[in-house]
């Protein structure tokens, strides 16, 4: 009985490794037809033409990166603010309800964010913020091209905004965690020298928790890169690269979600699976480095005590 129990438990644990291996092998195997046909040009070509069966991932790759960068630019300062508020200034009785509310944001299914983005956020952006951006920022020489074209409502910027809301709770949670383990003696020493509360945050808490902050950022980035349904609703699904952030685009995950069940022909399907493989390799790298950073922080914090 002991051997059986132990064996089953070890088997289940190893299954986790098998799953990862299986995902990589099966995606690699089924994307081989597309990768063999297009070679490196799969990553560098922008064309995506199901009729002539010419596929390149560049437009989707571009959209994935741009939307994630927008999301991070918006979510990181806000998460930082929330984490600082919760660990430093928030009255104790408010701490639990607010952090619970922020964490609940993480449990809302992504399709609900998509629905909200499409029917609520996009019309608001279309009628207010986007015309303003076009009017005022569209003329800036050098950077103006980012805000040109008609206000569609949906597009890369909208997708980035929705993603920002979605990754915010994850980044906040990690930051809050690392801020709260900053050793109190360090902070008290700074206060003792007459530092203001903000100076303690900037001079002690942030430097001390820098690896943790970076780990949290990358974890959020990993989420943003792979997020599917919310983006599919609002990104516009156009396989092209235009300079403007207001134009419809696509991301890797949105392309797969939109086209996979409609894909006819082995090469089309294979190209979509190859997109999936590219996405998996990118997110794997980002998430794995984030976890390594956070792990090192944990063991480091233990050693320093």
């Amino acid at each position: 009985m002991e051997y059986a129990f132990r064996g089953v438990s070890a088997l289940c644990a190893v299954l986790v490794l098998v799953l990862l291996g299986g995902i990589i092998v099966s995606l690699a195997h089924d994307s081989w037809p597309a990768l063999r046909t297009f070679g490196w040009s799969f990553l560098t070509a922008q064309r995506w033409n199901p009729v002539t069966e010419k596929f390149g991932a560049l437009a989707a790759l571009y959209g994935t990166l741009v939307t994630s960068v927008i999301a991070m630019l918006i979510a990181v300062p806000i998460s930082f603010g929330i984490a600082v508020f919760l660990t430093e200034t928030c009255p104790t009785w408010l701490r639990a309800p607010i952090s619970t509310a922020i964490e609940l944001l993480a449990s809302i299914p992504s399709i609900v964010f998509g629905l909200w983005g499409l029917f609520v956020l996009a019309p608001i952006l279309q009628s207010t913020i986007q015309p303003w951006l076009i009017e005022h920022l569209g003329k800036i020489p050098g950077a103006g091209f980012l805000f040109q074209g008609p206000p569609f409502g949906i597009g890369l910027l909208t997708a980035g905004l929705v993603l920002a809301v979605m990754v915010l709770p994850f980044i906040t949670a990690v930051m809050r965690e690392v801020f709260s383990i900053t050793p109190t003696p360090l902070k008290e020493a700074a206060y003792g020298m007459g530092a203001t509360q903000w100076e303690v945050v900037r001079g002690v808490v942030v430097p001390w928790s820098r690896p943790g902050i970076i780990g949290g950022l990358m974890l959020g980035l990993g989420r943003a890169l792979g997020e599917t349904m919310a983006v599919t609703f609002v990104v516009g699904n156009a396989h092209r690269i235009t300079g403007s952030l207001l134009a419809p685009g696509t991301t890797i995950s949105a392309s797969i979600a939109n086209e996979f069940t409609e894909a006819v022909g082995d090469l089309y399907t294979s190209a979509l699976i190859a997109l999936g493989l590219v996405l998996f390799l990118i997110t794997f790298t980002v998430i794995a480095s984030a976890r390594l950073l956070l792990m090192r922080l944990e063991s480091g914090a233990g050693a320093r005590e």
Binding site: E2, F5, R6, S9, A10, C12, A13, V14, V16, L17, L19, L20, I23, S26, L27, I78, S79, G81, I82, V84, F85, L86, T89, C90, I98, T100, A101, I102, L104, L105, I108, P109, S110, I111, V112, L115, W116, L118, F119, V120, L168, T196, Q197, W198, E199, L219, G226, M229, S253, I256, A257, T261, G276, L279, F280, T283, I287, A288, R291, M295
Partner: protein
């Protein structure tokens, strides 16, 4: 302005901005929930639970989609939870401190944040392509694969919270390790394990991307496991993207249903873990 005044001003500004950021985060949550209620509630009716998804223009409900979602979530959890629990047991008990356990823990953490659409593609290539058709079983399998890392993580964490004295006491009575685990450690960690279970149900019940190419969708009532089956997330996706007003209204009701379900589960899990923490502190 003196230097001190400037420093105080910066202090005020910094914390003002952080309070503002918090207010913004809460406002987004409130706006989201308000929209869901405002748009979802009007079309909540008994028909929602008794009638199947309609053709555009005719009345109907979401009964088949609700059934499909519940069934696939249950199947996914029934397959995923035991595997996750056993793997968590290995990491916490048998494999404690070994290199293999550290590697598995790391890979599990990566899988935990891996994009769910990749899991859908994986199940598609392994199951759907081989079988030649979409099926509810494939959908349940992809949900199970998403649930496993969640259960592994929470159960390992919860089992490690069990004090070593309990393990030693049980061993001193002559219990084999498996007996110790089943009769002593699992009961001691019961509410924590239950929390993990609730969280993983919450996680998979809203998943959409992996179901799109595994369970597909079905306009009709179907209980066949090896055929495409309707499910709430896919129906919401299809109906929301359609130009028909009544379909869109149903999509909002579906979204309201899923969100309330998930929020109730998450809050329940939170209360459960707070309760058990309070109890164990009381004991110590």
């Amino acid at each position: 302005m003196t230097r001190l005044q400037r420093r105080k001003l910066v202090n005020l500004f910094g914390f003002g901005a952080s309070a503002l950021a918090t207010a913004l985060g809460l406002a987004v949550l409130a706006a989201l929930l308000w929209t869901l209620i405002a748009r979802g509630v009007p079309s909540i009716s008994p028909a929602l639970f008794t009638q199947n998804t309609p053709a555009p223009g005719s009345p109907g409900g979401l009964a088949n989609a609700i059934f499909g979602s519940v069934l696939m979530t249950l199947l996914g959890i029934a397959a995923g939870a035991p595997i996750g629990l056993m793997a968590g047991t290995y990491l916490s008990e048998y494999g404690r401190g070994t290199k293999l356990a550290a590697l598995i823990r790391f890979i599990n953490d990566v899988l935990l944040s891996a994009p769910s659409i990749i899991i859908g593609l994986f199940v598609y290539t392994v199951v759907v392509m081989r079988a030649g058709h979409f099926s509810a079983l494939a959908g349940a399998m992809s949900l199970a694969i998403i649930a496993i890392p969640v259960v592994v993580r929470t159960s390992e964490d919860m089992l490690q919270l069990v004090p070593n004295a309990l393990r030693e006491a049980s061993a001193a009575l002559g219990a084999a390790p498996w007996r110790t685990i089943v009769s002593t450690i699992y009961p001691a960690a019961r509410s924590g394990l239950l929390t993990g279970l609730l969280l993983s149900i919450a996680r998979i019940s809203g998943e959409t991307a992996p179901l799109l190419f595994t369970a597909l969708n079905n306009q009709f009532w179907s209980t066949k496991l090896n055929a495409p089956m309707a499910n709430l997330p896919s129906v919401i996706f299809q109906f929301a993207m359609s130009p028909y007003r009544d379909w869109q209204a149903l999509a909002w009701s579906g979204a309201l249903l899923i969100t309330s379900f998930v929020l109730v589960l998450s809050i329940g899990a939170r209360m459960l873990s707070a309760m058990s923490r309070g109890r164990s502190q009381g004991r110590a």
